[in-house]
Symmetry: C2
Subunit: 123 residues, 2 copies
C-alpha cells in the first residue's frame, strides 16, 4: 500500500521544529541552505518547510562539521561528480586532517543518532 508521497520526503516541518530536532540555529540552517546543502520547500507565504530527509541531512552536516570538515568539503562529498579529480591531494589532506581532529578532540557532541529511525532522542 505505497503512499502517494512518502512522508520522509514530504515537506511538513517548519524551521522551528527542525531547530529542535537538529539542535541547530535558524541561522545555521538557512546558511547551509544558501550553500546548497538543503533545499526546503516554501509555503505560499514563503515560509520554509522541511521533510524528514532534510532533517537527516542537516544532522549529517552537523556531524561532518563537528568532525572538522568545512561546508565546501561537505558540498564536494555530496556531489561525487567524478570520484576525485586534479585537486584530490588537497581533498585527501582535508579528510586526513578531519580524521585526526575527530580523534583528538572528541568534544561536546550530544547530537544523537539520525532521526531516521525513530526520530528523536530525548528523555
Amino acid at each position: 500500500m505505497a503512499e502517494v508521497v512518502d512522508l520522509r520526503s514530504r515537506a511538513v516541518l517548519p524551521i522551528g521544529t527542525v531547530m529542535t530536532l537538529t539542535a541547530l540555529s535558524a541561522r545555521q540552517i538557512r546558511y547551509y541552505e544558501k550553500q546548497g546543502l538543503v533545499h526546503p520547500q516554501r509555503t505560499a507565504g514563503n515560509h520554509r518547510m522541511y521533510a524528514l530527509n532534510d532533517v537527516d541531512a542537516l544532522i549529517d552536516i552537523k556531524d561532518q562539521l563537528a568532525s572538522g570538515l568545512s561546508l565546501d568539503d561537505i558540498k564536494r562529498l555530496r556531489k561525487p561528480r567524478q570520484p576525485v579529480n586534479e585537486t584530490s591531494d588537497a581533498a585527501v589532506r582535508q579528510a586526513l586532517r578531519a580524521e585526526l581532529l575527530n580523534q583528538s578532540r572528541m568534544n561536546q557532541n550530544p547530537s544523537g543518532p539520525s532521526v531516521s529511525q525513530g526520530f528523536g532522542f530525548r528523555p
Copy 2:
C-alpha cells in the same frame, strides 16, 4: 536501537501541516480537540503541535464522521470503559443508523489511506 521517543508520537507538525495532511479545516481540528479526541502539545508560544499519531487519529475521526457517526459516538468508541452499559440501546441504534447511512451514501471521500505508513523508514 529503539529510540527514546518514537517519531510517530513526537509533536512536530503545526496545524497548517495537519490541515493539508488531513484535508480538515483548522476549525474542525480545534473542535475535535475540544471534544477530547486529540491532544496536541503546545509550543512555548501557545501554538499547537501535532504528532503523526494525531494525524492518523484525525483521519480516522474524519472517516467515522463520514460514515455517519457523531463525535460523541466516536468519543465512546475511543474509551471502551465498559463495552456498553445502560443506554446501550441508544448506542446500538446509532451504530445501525451509521451502518445504513454508510451503505447508502458512499459519498465523496478522497481521503487517502492513513499517513502512518511511510513515515519512519526508508525505502
